[in-house]
Symmetry: C2
Subunit: 549 residues, 2 copies
């Protein structure tokens, strides 16, 4: 395979590690842990993996002999920069503990385990992927691993390959299922340990024990590079408002982090929209008012950051979508008879007054897409809504009304962008390269210590790597009960943006100034070789949250 100059140079980067991951390691067990809530239910569901102690590693243990131990690894869910380094760290520590241990990668996510598709990850394979982005070493997939039949199918291949431990690299759902699997294998004395690793660019797998999920750092930096470039263009041409939507699913962590890195004129935070029970029109009015104020100061240009999940956080939109889903599923046959050009009017007449008004206020493209592009279950596909276009169009509409009333004299031209796939598989930043490698090493040490139902954990990550603390967290400790598809289920609690947290407070403090001045910050591309403060700095979110801890 042809490789770029940077790719080749980057392959020889040796990730940094704290002392507690170098050489022989002492395992220190803390007190028994509890779930974040619903303790009794969770204890009952996880009798063998509940209440385990926190584990931390300290340097200076004695190097003892470990038997050779075969391990399996799965990448689950969306890509995130650094996944290959988790596997490299896992491999290197395994080989250090016993060179006869072997590592197997299951292909294309959980399906690989269930369908017995795998490849052995030898040193040759691993070396090809050190410090690279993407999950292409073994692929990933979104199949949910949560049924006993799947666990049993997996067990066959695990036994065949003499695998004693499985490492599942994934987000909150995948790790919840990793814990269910750990519990299941413990319950049947299968002799298979299961260890999780916190992955997701969305940044929503974090809590008191897990400071950040890997990939968030790199993805946010790639998006911030692009936002900075666009802001420099915006401030040079001085004629466009750029509406920029950012990946990140429900939570607004990515958008908030990018705002802290780039100082845009407007940053929408879904969690704030929901907390204040805002209507779509409130958001549009907020943007339009800022456009007017900047225009009055001679600036007919600006930037707006929009989190991918916004629509789901608008209570009124949620109600509209609910009624649309119900109506369309009940009246599918009749709806199919309506001529395309008459569909919008038909729907408008069928909805309740409030939802009808909201539906009628949507731009024609969005209104059409809501009823046309439904998923296989007939549901409206919220994620397909081009929110950046929707907000740009609705702001233009409002400003046109205001212009007629004499409230707006400026120009308003828009450009829209959506960044997501540009960052999920970027080469991991030094932070993610180091963090992931350490997670992999930690996972290996947890396996050697005979643990199951744990997530590998690195703390103190806002400090230099030498200060990082490695260990493991019982996955049940992060769980609570939530309703999923009508049933109460144990799940690792997803972290949305905390309205009392430092990152959001920092935004709130500065955004008024950002709106009216043009104090853009230009982060530029991720650097790997320069001064440490340029190359190794963690996200603003991590640095600010340090004050919360």
């Amino acid at each position: 395979m042809a490789k770029s100059a940077l790719h080749l140079a980057r392959m020889s980067y040796q990730p940094k590690m704290p002392a507690s991951l170098q050489g022989a390691v002492k395992i220190i067990e803390g007190k028994a842990t509890e779930a974040v809530s619903d303790k009794e239910e969770i204890a009952a569901i996880f009798p063998r993996t509940y209440g385990l102690p926190l584990i931390s590693f300290a340097p200076g243990g004695e190097r003892t002999e470990y038997p050779p131990t075969n391990v399996g690894v799965i990448l689950s869910g969306g890509q995130a920069p650094g996944g290959h380094n988790v596997i490299a760290g896992l491999f290197d520590e395994m080989k250090l503990l016993n060179p006869d241990s072997r590592l197997f990668g299951f292909l294309m996510g959980p399906d690989g385990l269930i369908e017995h598709k795998y490849r052995e990850l030898t040193a040759e394979v691993i070396d090809e992927y050190r410090n690279t982005g993407g999950f292409d070493m073994i692929g990933s997939g979104r199949t949910k691993l949560d049924k006993p039949e799947q666990f049993e199918a997996g067990l066959e291949i695990l036994r065949e390959l003499d695998i004693k431990a499985l490492v599942i690299i994934g987000g909150d759902d995948s790790n919840t299922n990793a814990c269910i699997l750990a519990e299941y294998y413990a319950s049947i004395d299968a002799g298979i340990q299961v260890i999780g690793c916190p992955k997701t660019i969305d940044g929503d797998l974090k809590n008191k024990q897990i400071e950040t999920s890997f990939g968030f750092d790199t993805a946010a930096k790639v998006y911030s590079e692009l936002i900075g470039n666009i802001q420099r263009d915006c401030n040079s041409a001085r004629k466009y408002w750029h509406f920029i939507k950012l990946m990140g699913r429900s939570a607004s962590h990515i958008t908030l982090e990018c705002a802290l890195q780039t100082h845009p004129n407007i940053c929408i935070v879904s969690e704030e929209v929901e907390a204040n029970n805002y209507y779509l029109d409130d958001v549009v009015t907020y943007i339009a008012e800022t456009v007017v104020r900047r225009s009055e100061a001679g600036m007919n240009f600006g930037t707006v950051l929009i989190p991918e999940g916004l629509i789901e956080f608008l209570p009124a939109m949620k109600r509209l979508i609910k009624e649309l889903n119900e109506f369309l599923s009940q009246n599918d046959a009749e709806f199919k008879l309506i001529k395309r050009s008459a569909q919008r009017q038909y729907i408008k007449n069928k909805l309740s007054p409030e939802n009808s008004r909201l539906y009628d206020s949507l731009p024609v493209d969005v209104a059409r897409q809501l009823i046309a592009d439904r998923d296989p279950h007939g549901n409206v596909q919220v994620s397909l809504i081009a929110t950046e276009k929707l907000l740009a169009d609705m702001t233009a509409q409002k400003l046109a009304e205001w212009a007629e009333e004499g409230r707006f004299q400026g120009r308003f031209s828009t450009l829209t962008h959506f960044f997501g796939y540009e960052g999920r598989c970027a080469m991991p930043s030094n932070f993610d390269a180091n963090y992931c490698y350490c997670l992999g090493r930690a996972a290996s040490i947890l396996i050697a210590a005979g643990k199951t139902g744990y997530m590998a954990a690195i703390k103190n990550t806002a400090d230099p790597v030498s200060e990082w603390e490695a260990g493991g967290v019982p996955m049940t400790m992060m769980m609570n009960m939530e309703r999923r598809s009508g049933k109460m289920k144990p799940v690792i609690r997803k972290a949305l943006v905390d309205m009392d947290g430092e990152p959001y407070r920092a935004l709130r403090e500065m955004r008024r100034e950002w709106a009216l001045s043009t104090e853009y910050v230009y982060p530029g591309p991720i650097q790997f070789f320069g001064p440490e403060h340029v190359c190794d700095s963690p996200t603003m979110t991590l640095r600010l949250e340090k004050n919360d801890r």
Copy 2:
């Protein structure tokens, strides 16, 4: 202004220069030059700036005393990374020649000259912008500077500020006009020299004398970073075809360069489409056939690079747009009476048979946009057509037909992207930072040598900076006569992709393999501090064209 860590670190970068730009410089004049074609007409139009000699600089001249000389500078047209460094190089050399010389920047492009809006560029201003992207130091604009009234209005402020030379940084059109201005000021003995500098990310301002325009290197590298990231995602998820449109106006240089950097499965080159008289359906068929072949090999994923200007190069689309423009301008009143939902059918009935068939085959969004979003002159806006979406939709349509015929058994899901504003104002790569700084220094030396009607030029740019050769090229030398708005005019000849050039030949040689294998290359982000072969390499285009020279 808050600055990012990289921004701060980058401000102290000292651009590299060849020996011929360091210290005292000897001016070497070559033979008299001729226009690339239409010599007599051009000689007649430019009696004072035609036939001037090529100029090259050599080290080792004697440092003589120069009188203080005030200079004005204008940024014209679209942003390109490195513009600030041209100005910094200009400034540093001016101050070296005489510390009492002063530099004035005209604001927001040619308008600043005409409307007498300017700022003095002192060391303090310049230092704030060294090695940064964007044109925000003085802004840019697209006003064409081509009328004697404008020249006279400019002369007033030039005289008021005692400016003896004007540097115009722009693309082919802006430099053509710079030469007309040089000729005009010479003809009235205004005592104002005019020097041009080759700017444009599109890469279409190049010829035997000018090897590349600045900004092309950085923009192509930013887009290649993103394409590489998407390809890694594509190859990890293995479920999407990504259709990626790239900025670059008419010429496909950017798309071709990005393809050479990233090895996508498909790369469309507009110039090839035109040379072969392809129809839109030919392009779609070519893509669809590749999708089928990859699918048969188990790969329902891939990448397609599409140049922004494609539509204009499809002869049949050109004919359709011509007829649409003519019909709509002649029947505007009647058209306005047609109901929106009936417009498409109306237009279809009015067009000639061939154009009607083509119009009917376009996806509904594109068909609607062609007749709805016209410019102030009533013309169809080709640049607004989402070609990436058009090709994705039409390929899906064709594959659906083939699936019915049993010719396609795979899945085909698409994602679309358009990259442009992400790269125009990026921090200049080391190449662009060096190249621009050298162009600025060269412009200053040309001014000191009393030259006018010249473009600053740096040659040998595929080699290390120490081997670069600096000098000046008479702008008339790059001109020919072309029809513009119905009249024959002298213009600097635009460079499209050369079907016999090395870059295109390299693509043609490798693309069959790229189509069926998945040999993506991942360039990663631009690096500033690492090994020289990672940080300082010029584009593939420059390296390959070296063989043509």
